[in-house]
Symmetry: D2
Subunit: 280 residues, 4 copies
Amino acid sequence: MPKYCTMEAYRFSRERKSSGTVVDVSGVKVGGREIVIAAGPCSVESEEQLMDTAKGVIGAGAGIIRGGAFKPRTSPYSFQGLGKEGLGILKEAGRRFDVPIVTELMDTGLVELYSRDVDLIQVGARNSQNFDMLKRLGKQKRPVLLKNGTGTSVQEWLMSSEYVLSEGNSSVILCYRGAKSIEGATRFSMDMGAIAMARKLSHMLICVDPSHAAGRREFVAPMALAAIAAGADMLEIEVHNDPDKALSDREQQLSIGEFEELMNRARDVAKAVGRSIRKG
Amino acid sequence: MPKYCTMEAYRFSRERKSSGTVVDVSGVKVGGREIVIAAGPCSVESEEQLMDTAKGVIGAGAGIIRGGAFKPRTSPYSFQGLGKEGLGILKEAGRRFDVPIVTELMDTGLVELYSRDVDLIQVGARNSQNFDMLKRLGKQKRPVLLKNGTGTSVQEWLMSSEYVLSEGNSSVILCYRGAKSIEGATRFSMDMGAIAMARKLSHMLICVDPSHAAGRREFVAPMALAAIAAGADMLEIEVHNDPDKALSDREQQLSIGEFEELMNRARDVAKAVGRSIRKG
Amino acid sequence: MPKYCTMEAYRFSRERKSSGTVVDVSGVKVGGREIVIAAGPCSVESEEQLMDTAKGVIGAGAGIIRGGAFKPRTSPYSFQGLGKEGLGILKEAGRRFDVPIVTELMDTGLVELYSRDVDLIQVGARNSQNFDMLKRLGKQKRPVLLKNGTGTSVQEWLMSSEYVLSEGNSSVILCYRGAKSIEGATRFSMDMGAIAMARKLSHMLICVDPSHAAGRREFVAPMALAAIAAGADMLEIEVHNDPDKALSDREQQLSIGEFEELMNRARDVAKAVGRSIRKG
Amino acid sequence: MPKYCTMEAYRFSRERKSSGTVVDVSGVKVGGREIVIAAGPCSVESEEQLMDTAKGVIGAGAGIIRGGAFKPRTSPYSFQGLGKEGLGILKEAGRRFDVPIVTELMDTGLVELYSRDVDLIQVGARNSQNFDMLKRLGKQKRPVLLKNGTGTSVQEWLMSSEYVLSEGNSSVILCYRGAKSIEGATRFSMDMGAIAMARKLSHMLICVDPSHAAGRREFVAPMALAAIAAGADMLEIEVHNDPDKALSDREQQLSIGEFEELMNRARDVAKAVGRSIRKG
């Protein structure tokens, strides 16, 4: 256990704020008794694909639509997303279904655009220590969904959040997406200890992304239910209206039917830990 | 995802047995709808300590008493347990409260003794690839609780179980106790993916030990509840009648009151996933 | 071993170029028989500090001066470097001693400035998958020193280099700075296998930074010598004219005397593997 | 860096013994200026195979013959070694070539046999925390070659050595064989920091086994040379007279020709760091 002798010095610190944090995502309040679910495809592939998926996930209870417009891909030759066109489709879905949207920011030069058009700005694992990006996000008003890096510790992750907080933006939600591990069979570990530790050290809200850690559809549900049992305030789940035809992360995206089933089970577990799933 | 081209060749394999496995621990059946809780001190320190603790945990619903007699300690100068005296106290507790006992085997030379006196023989992380020990345990009748090594993969863990199974003993319960990770803040990662993967690849029952991964009392409950939500069939939890005076693992042992509270919450989560906690 | 069925498709690939790669850093050629040493302080702290250190390391045989102007620090409250003033001091040192300079780029908005003023642009571990930054560096002419992320695999690291190469800049030197590991005693593992694997899969030059992995002065030399024995083409080493007064990374910076001693030993090991250290 | 406030309490501790440790392996002295090479096949497969290989490696300068008789295999269905027959062949080779033999102990019940017949008793990664085995080895006279576990830290490894030392056997050589890591491409990391840390904290001799970490023939040489540069006192290398026909670890065993070439390069690197390779 590291020493945090100056913990109260940090804005993220639990010692500075024991009461419940709430982050307002364009009217959807994250924090408190209700757990918010963000769902949608890995990548926005077409208007039809997104609208179909959005309709399905909102019908099942999702409160926020997720979708990748600018995609971070390990290889430059993989599908990079539809870019601004994808962002336009996302915005249209947000308007049509009257829900906030969350999508990942890849380019510091687009902070202004995102700040105008995106309800919740996601910082992915690869930029989780891109301090320049974090500081710029700290200077604008939109809430930030900050993923951990696949090789960062909880302490480093919290320090990354401090780069946003210290610039004046207090609306940061931490999103745990698993970490690199010595296990070869799953993509990333889904360590309940990281969640528990982040909740102990900070007053910040915890979102959990089981999809990227799972890497396979069938592991998304046990990881999601476990995260709720361990105290998550929000989940972000990849759902596709036709997963087998997805252009990216095909193996891990749930179908709408699988998502509906997961939501039913999530409601039961949420209730068991004294919470509920927000109605979409 | 590794290829298991010959998975059906393995006795642990899900492909060989899709129906529910049940392991009979001296009358307490692990597997099926009910979740069994083993609880008790890290080390048996005295008759009074064990009896007090046993009374408390059984009153709260534990179905099996755990306690260390021969203790594996990283340093040879740390408290090594009471040895045979500790085993005698454990047996007496089993008789008095009429419940099975589980304790760790450290010495291959003691297989015969354990086979006679111990209801569920635990193989710890450090001996999880001690194949000589595993083969000997395969040749006797008592059920085996097989922990993963802190540096072993799920596949290696399952292969270790095969060393027991292939010698004729089909009563093996896997016990996930976390793994070494790049996170510096918790002792071991508590990776829900490892549990999900073990359940997918094998038909074997999964016990989860949150205490060693947590390393701190306050993280035991979120990890335990997460494990139930992820599908665990059994939990093994360290509880001490006076944790602050414990001779080992002081930081992570629950008090009886904390254990009672955890059991109440565990009942709710178990119910939410269609199961229940076995009454002690 | 991953399958690289389409390895020849990648510009980094060994299959595309078996002959020796050479990167020209403002006249200092990296690659070939001579090993180039970049040395200098973690952070540029003052003109006096940098000039003193530069004089010392060049006298000992360093061919490139390193120094942090904009510093990536886990905490926003740690010393962030002198910024543009630091860059100015670095440039002045380059002019005065007639050697190239290497310094880390933290902000995509500064690519143009770095492209003009910096001989070798370093991308640090935290931005190793900042694809926006990498693509912009691919569109300018200066050579790039690309560190691995602390949680990235060799394959991911090579793919990051492809983001630069595929935009037209073929002058990329990989710099291995260690990775997160399960070992608690050192800061990062210094894995010779990562170096060997990168050399097998790619034709790219390998620099090794032992200072960040070591975390302690006394481990820098064995790591540096091992890297030369394993085939490194370049080393980047932190040296300070008065390490005990350093504003960052105090524990791991060598004194000039220690650096001189290391250089003597490095010459012997280089010779033993058929190479030599470039004279500064 | 962990605190070792009571380091002088440990027999392995550098604080207890600053002068050079020497371990006598049946007349071959490990420690001092000369580096000893143990070489031979992963498994003893036949008399012809071992004698051929032994002749080759001794001709090339190996000072100790290695070979597996009882093999630790992750799967119970993999080739388990020739057992006592293999041990007999090894002994015969030792006699014929007048060199010591090293082989792994798998079964605590065989300590007495090994103590009589084996010059250097190897404890493999899987038994590196089998404290019962370690204590028994501490009560006999033969030197012990103690590998680190794939998931143990340097501190845990040293503590394992203390189990042998504290029972009265001071002849322990540590053997680093790499550790589990987040890198998917090599089998185990070959972390020079672990070697440097073990040498700092303890006075014990360090052997390095590059073969198991490499997992592939072509990575053995860079790892072996790096280990010498980093200060190893001994190497253990898998060599087979016909690697493509090996019954285990086919990919990582060197041919005799490759071993000869490695030895030539090792001599140069050893000389560069002020040492030499012992003549076989």
